[in-house]
């Protein structure tokens, strides 16, 4: 579906959809805090517009915001996301440890975060590793002994 949307619009549209869903959640929740959905919509619109404008910049950030990143910029983004995930896992572990020490009842969200991160990592290994490739391409599986590298 995203291919039908102009690259520069993809991230702003994603932000707008996420913000609209979050604002709708506040409306569905109802009660005296229904009005929170209004600032959510305003903040979402402002963020979507700022990402659209950034998408026109001739910078790495602009290329990522405009969904036109080349291989280096995609690698930078990938490493940044891996770092963010590592930090989230460390923070979740620290939170879980604190919750256990304090005998608090709010330990389980940290377990959920750690479980999702662990599952995501295993999913990544099974998706991107060579394990699911054709065994015929593997010397070891094909019964051929791997030769040691030749010294120059």
């Amino acid at each position: 579906m995203m291919s039908f949307i102009s690259p520069r619009l993809r991230k702003p549209v994603g932000i707008a959809v996420a913000g609209a869903v979050f604002a709708a959640a506040w409306l569905v929740r109802g009660g005296p805090l229904w009005w929170v959905s209004i600032p959510v919509v305003i903040a979402t619109a402002a963020r979507a517009v700022s990402w659209y404008r950034m998408g026109g910049d001739d910078t790495d950030e602009g290329a990522l915001a405009g969904s036109r990143a080349d291989e280096r910029q995609q690698l930078v983004s990938l490493r940044s996301r891996a770092l963010a995930c590592n930090l989230a896992v460390v923070a979740a572990f620290a939170g879980l440890t604190a919750a256990v020490a304090l005998k608090a009842s709010w330990w389980w969200p940290f377990v959920v975060i750690l479980a999702v991160a662990g599952f995501g990592y295993l999913l990544g290994l099974s998706t991107y590793s060579i394990a699911d490739e054709d065994p015929a391409n593997d010397d070891e599986d094909a019964g051929q002994q791997a030769r040691p590298p030749v010294n120059r």
Binding site: D58, T59, D60, A63, A69, D70, E71, R72, Q73
Partner: protein, 69 residues
């Protein structure tokens, strides 16, 4: 790893933006490759070498030290 991208580009009187457009990458990536801060993928290395009518091993020297590295 030393490379001859900047040398070849300036010899041909090209700007970094022109080379980037020809290779289909960003100007920032050309700057990073020239500065030795980014090693291009094999397809991009071949594209660079082909663009300058050189072989990959003439374009990129794995034994060479980047100036200032």
């Amino acid at each position: 790893m030393r490379n001859r991208v900047r040398e070849q580009r300036t010899q041909r009187g090209l700007s970094q933006a022109e080379l980037a457009a020809a290779l289909g990458v960003s100007r920032q990536t050309v700057i990073s490759i020239e500065g030795g801060r980014y090693l291009p993928s094999l397809p991009l290395a071949f594209a660079i070498a082909r663009f300058f009518d050189l072989t990959v091993d003439k374009m990129f020297d794995p034994d060479g030290e980047e100036a200032g590295a």
